[in-house]
């Protein structure tokens, strides 16, 4: 049951988006998110939507994969829509008993939903077209200016990539411990929520102990292979901008200009 969770949801295919430098994609996603929140204007959203659809076409990733990213946040989205509908004050359009729905409320809920869905799909698109390793490499490079204010960027990126490596291992281990406890009569399925949370303890404690042991072993193995932080380290795949990447940056700038123009003048 724990195996069903997939992380690092990379979709393997060969498209323009897959070939782009991870830094471009990270910056692109950032620009995209900013553009979503700059204006509350239907025409702006049409431009953004058009852009998103063409990006999805470019990525050659089936649309169903993007929707899959939406499923876990559907509940939150639903709740925010309800709250916006019920608790926004303004001109009343419909009223029955305690429930009053306002024009402003409908508007807010609509934009909220549109923003949310587009935000999730846009960022899912990035993780679908970028391998986890590329993603951490890209983040390390994009965030490297923070090094100057003593943020350990390389170390954080290294931790992220190690975490990615160990997630499946620890999940398998959790599964094993769970089965071991089940075979000794542990009960994870019945009872109220508090009861079930308490039931997880016999899984978490051994899991943590083993994770610490693994961390210790791994640190020693890294030491033995001469790891000594980011300094003096070379990269197997150094990030080098190609012409495609430069053009992608140009597209981003044009995109921002169009958004601002539409937002201000239309």
């Amino acid at each position: 049951m724990l195996r069903d969770i997939t992380l690092g949801q990379y979709y393997q295919t060969n498209s323009l988006l897959h070939r782009l430098d991870p830094r471009v994609k990270i910056m692109g996603t950032l620009v995209y998110i900013i553009s979503l929140f700059l204006f509350r204007n239907l025409f702006v959203y049409l431009v953004v939507l058009g852009c998103l659809v063409s990006m999805i076409k470019l990525s050659k990733v089936p649309f169903s994969f993007m929707v899959r990213g939406l499923q876990p946040v559907m509940m939150i989205l639903f709740l925010t829509v309800i709250c916006n509908l019920l608790f926004t004050k303004g001109t009343v359009v419909y009223s029955v008993w305690l429930i009053t729905i306002t024009r402003e409320g409908i508007e807010l809920a609509f934009y909220m939903t549109v923003r949310f869905i587009m935000l999730i799909i846009g960022s899912t698109l990035m993780t679908l077209t970028t391998t986890p390793t590329q993603l951490t490499d890209g983040l390390e490079s994009v965030l490297s200016p923070l090094n100057k204010i003593k943020v350990p960027v390389h170390e954080v990126a290294m931790m992220m990539s190690i975490a990615l490596r160990f997630i499946p291992i620890l999940m398998e281990e959790a599964d094993k411990i769970m089965k071991a406890q089940l075979s000794r009569g542990a009960d994870f399925e019945t009872g109220n929520i508090f009861h079930r949370v308490k039931g997880m303890l016999p899984i978490l404690v051994p899991l943590f102990i083993s994770a610490f042991k693994r961390a210790d072993d791994l640190a020693m193995a890294m030491d033995a292979r001469c790891y000594r932080g980011g300094e003096g380290r070379s990269k197997m795949r150094p990030l080098i901008y190609k012409n495609v990447d430069r053009r992608a940056y140009m597209v981003m700038i044009i995109y921002l200009i169009i958004i601002v123009a539409v937002g201000v003048f239309v």
Binding site: P132, S161, A221, A224, R225
Partner: protein, 283 residues
């Protein structure tokens, strides 16, 4: 290549008040010399100090007394540790806990990356070392998909990519199934013969000792026996007292010998046993 002189290592246990409650001598006055290109096996049951010894050779531990010289460099000198770790690579017991990257080829490149090797050179090294352990076709795979033996071979390739002079296998076969163990041992033997890499194999499996040129048996932190596999295996009773079991075929030959069958001492393989039986006129 490796010169260990009067090495002593103590594990000191302290209570909450920082007072010493217990001192265990994990290594007690050990002298070992390993020549370049040799295949040396270190045998011993649990707690004999063999893993502690391995960590000393990789400068993961420093000598309490005595000295450890690797390729002419003293491990006590902290300036040397990175050079020592590069020239004496170490493969650990748990295959999962020593693979760092999510893709095989990236893991093999981790060592050279740390050494600051140029990218083109790294790819060349990755290719050569993966080919030398026969894992080249798995280069794009996730380590999670591989079997234990394959993971250990990737770990060995990761060490090879650092161009070491010596590989230390610290019970690298202990968690593997018989097939995985054979895979790993064959890769290591090949590296020793073809690339002339010095190998230090630490194990408690007697069958793996037959690959070695030289065997060192440890017990309670001391070297108790030393010699060629044949010499060691002819001392069946003594090994038994150290809780070490000789391979079945050696045991059988030994028992037959005791019953008066004229066989030579320390038979290591089945082929050898059959040949001996024939020449003894038994079959």
């Amino acid at each position: 290549m490796i010169k260990i002189k009067n090495l002593v290592h103590e594990y000191i246990r302290r209570d909450e008040n920082d007072e010493v409650t217990d001192i265990t001598k994990a290594i007690d006055d050990v002298n070992i010399e390993v020549e370049k290109g040799q295949f040396v096996a270190i045998l011993g049951h649990n707690g004999s100090g063999k893993s502690t010894l391995a960590k000393h050779i990789n400068a993961l531990l420093y000598p309490g007394e005595g000295s450890v010289m690797v390729d002419g460099k003293d491990t006590r000198n902290t300036e040397n540790i990175w050079e020592i770790r590069q020239s004496a690579g170490m493969v650990f017991q748990n295959p999962d806990n020593q693979i760092i990257a999510t893709v095989v080829e990236e893991d093999v490149g981790f060592g050279p990356e740390n050494l600051g090797v140029a990218p083109e050179e790294i790819w060349q090294r990755v290719e050569n070392s993966l080919k030398s352990v026969g894992m080249w076709k798995y280069r794009k795979d996730s380590p999670n998909k591989l079997s234990g033996g394959q993971k250990q071979r990737v770990a060995i390739a990761g060490i090879m990519a650092m161009h070491p002079k010596c590989i230390i296998l610290d019970e690298a076969t202990a968690m593997l199934d018989p097939k995985g163990r054979l895979e790993v041992m064959e890769s290591v033997k090949k590296l020793n013969e073809v690339e002339k890499i010095t190998v230090l194999h630490i194990t408690h499996y007697m069958e793996e000792v037959i690959y070695a040129d030289h065997v060192i048996v440890m017990d309670q932190g001391k070297v108790v026996m030393e010699g060629s596999p044949r010499e060691i295996f002819s001392r069946v009773e003594e090994l038994g007292r150290l809780h070490l079991e000789v391979p079945k075929i050696t045991r059988l030959a030994y028992e037959l010998q005791k019953e008066g069958v004229p066989l030579k001492n320390g038979i290591l393989t089945e082929e050898e046993f059959i040949k001996e039986l024939k020449s003894a006129g038994v079959v």
